[in-house]
């Protein structure tokens, strides 16, 4: 019935190659020089200014999902080049080499403080987390798996938007996922979206904005149109903090801004408040 589930496997979560090669890192928030090991012990949050470094999908899973519970779905689903777009194959290959990932999202089953759920974790290090056919499909299959198992679904968003190199096929992933999540919602199931830096474009204009509960990480850029394009349109600089998580909270578009130290506990709390079991009007 569900081909992905049969192919599940455990993935090893380990420090990225980048971390091993670069023992020191400068904080973009306060310009302090940080020791990678300490930064990692602090969930990649700057101990001086609270700047949240972008996480890889593996780091996110390690921080969020109980050890040994993660089972990956569709690990081998990879993008082709449906439009024969100039330079796309090379870019994909580069991204694969640089990240060790097959695509910009990792999906699977996992437990959060013992609460079972399905998760999708986008990785902005892979072609800026852009959504093409395969990213859309992997997320769709994770939602479908959650629907079959009647479990909550959590999406960690990090994306530059729809992937240009797959043209309108990428664009339509937005509608595909919005439709599927609508069905998921009608089945009485919980969908939590976590907006991390950056959540933009076609991802913001589809599943990122459709969570029953929407959480953002501090200072994350959350927008439809990116700040640079807006500044070009209006010919002036945007104010400090515009389109950041706290701004979106004030404007009413996210439920909570949750620092990384509290993310797992907060998710667990939300999951606990949505006990499993058949709801009225379920499909």
């Amino acid at each position: 019935m569900f081909p992905g589930l049969k192919r599940t496997r455990y993935i090893e979560v380990q420090a990225s190659a980048r971390t091993r090669e670069h023992p020191l890192e400068k904080c973009p928030g306060c310009r302090e020089i940080l020791v990678q090991r300490q930064l990692e012990d602090n969930l990649k949050v700057c101990p001086h200014c609270g700047y949240h470094f972008r996480l890889t999908a593996a780091e996110r899973l390690e921080q969020t999902v109980d050890e040994g519970t993660f089972r990956e779905l569709d690990a081998d689903l990879t993008s082709g080049d449906p439009l024969s777009f100039p330079g796309y194959r090379e870019k994909l290959e580069e991204a694969r080499q640089a990240t060790g990932l097959k695509e910009a999202v990792v999906t699977g089953y996992g437990e959060i403080e013992g609460h079972p759920c399905f998760v999708a974790v986008m990785d902005s290090h892979f072609m800026m987390g852009s959504m093409g056919l395969v990213v859309g499909e992997k997320i769709a299959r994770a939602v479908e798996a959650a629907m079959r198992e009647r479990l909550p679904f959590i999406a960690f968003c990090a994306s530059g938007g729809a992937r240009m190199q797959e043209g309108t096929l990428s664009l339509l992933q937005m509608a595909k996922l919005a439709g599927l999540l609508q069905e998921f919602g009608r089945a009485g199931l919980l969908y939590v979206s976590v907006l991390t830096d950056p959540t933009t474009g076609g991802v913001t204009a589809s599943f990122a904005s459709l969570g029953d509960i929407i959480i953002a990480e501090p200072r994350a850029l959350i927008c439809f149109t990116g700040p640079r394009v807006i500044e070009q349109t209006i010919g002036q600089k945007l104010p400090e903090g515009f389109q950041r998580a706290e701004f979106m909270l004030a404007k009413g578009f996210v439920d909570l801004v949750v620092p990384r130290q509290h993310m797992k506990a907060t998710l667990a709390r939300i999951l606990k408040l949505h006990p499993r079991g058949d709801k009225n009007g379920s499909l």
């Binding site: 190199q165 664009l171 509608a175 439709g179 439809f224 349109t233 515009f242």
Partner: protein, 314 residues
């Protein structure tokens, strides 16, 4: 006039000259002239059938190309426009309201663009703010309540990329439209009549049937935007237009569009009435087909349609 149309115009004027010469000197050249005319027509047909992506983008953006309001006037003479999102305001760059099609009530929604500088400013060049998408959503939900089919006419460069739009939740507004349209229990037919600009166009296009005019396009990003990001040179938009596979013919081949509606030679603006009549005929045809499906079947069919897009490339 477009560059490729110049040669054609020169040919036409030559034929005209010949006709005048023949008349002046009372020569009977009618069979020669007839043959020449047929040849010009043949060249014209070939030219327009083999337009490159960039030329179609050019045609789709022509100021004199009929817009949603023109088609609404021609197809729905009894159109009653309704306003506002009941929350923030009324966005004039989206037009929506009630009408009848062959005696049956329908809800019609489209993008409104201007024809001159003043109108362009008034309608924000067809780029909607969140309240525009929310108005569209309200009208669609109203259509569902009263069991009316929804017809959308898409023609927009994209959602408005400005600070107010962001502040009021441009992303959320579009996302909600995608969600609501995907679950609407009445038939939805979309016709992309000009520019189908990214998420701003998709927000009106989650339909059971997606029809597209021969010279319209539907793209994830504008060719200029794509060229400046990927090729670091906005001047390479022509190349980007080809690469993006955004033409009606591409979208039909990719099974994104269900049907390409032919335009008069040279583009929709050459025969507005004829174009409107053709669109009307296709709307009636598709709504008739969809009328056989019940509410839940329509929802399932629509979802399935989007679920399967691109499946052959996985």
């Amino acid at each position: 006039m477009v560059l490729y149309e110049r040669g054609l115009a020169r040919l036409r004027s030559k034929v005209q000259e010949l006709e005048e010469v023949a008349r002046e000197h009372s020569f009977d050249l009618s069979s020669e002239i007839g043959m020449l005319k047929a040849r010009v027509e043949m060249i014209e047909r070939e030219l327009y059938e083999n337009l490159r992506a960039w030329e179609r983008v050019y045609l789709a953006r022509l100021a004199e190309r009929p817009g949603a309001v023109d088609y609404i006037q021609a197809i729905f003479p009894d159109f009653l426009e309704l306003h506002g999102d009941r929350c923030f305001g009324d966005d004039p760059s989206i037009v929506g309201g009630l009408a009848t099609l062959e005696g049956r009530p329908v809800t019609v929604i489209g993008n409104r663009k201007g024809r001159d500088a003043k109108e362009n400013l008034q309608y924000n060049f067809g780029m909607a703010h969140p309240e525009g998408y929310r108005k569209a959503r309200r009208l669609m939900q109203q259509a569902e309540k009263f069991g009316r089919p929804v017809i959308t006419l898409v023609d927009t460069p994209g959602a408005y990329p400005g600070p107010e739009a962001e502040e009021r939740g441009q992303g959320e507004a579009i996302a909600q439209n995608l969600a609501v349209m995907s679950a609407l229990k009445v038939p939805i037919v979309t016709v992309v009549i000009g520019q189908g600009g990214s998420g701003g166009a998709l927000a009106l296009a989650v339909a059971n049937r997606l029809l597209i005019l021969e010279n319209a396009f539907f793209s994830v990003i504008s060719p200029e935007g794509c060229a400046s990001i990927l090729f670091k040179d906005a001047g390479r938009a022509r190349e980007a237009a080809e690469a993006l596979n955004l033409t009606a013919q591409d979208l039909y081949r990719l099974k994104i569009a269900d049907e390409v509606i032919p335009e008069p030679p040279g583009g929709a603006h050459r025969d507005k009435e004829g174009m409107a009549a053709r669109i009307k005929e296709r709307l009636v045809f598709h709504l008739e087909e969809l009328s056989r499906l019940e509410g839940e079947e329509l929802v399932r069919a629509r979802r399935e349609r989007f679920r399967r897009v691109g499946a052959e490339f996985l």
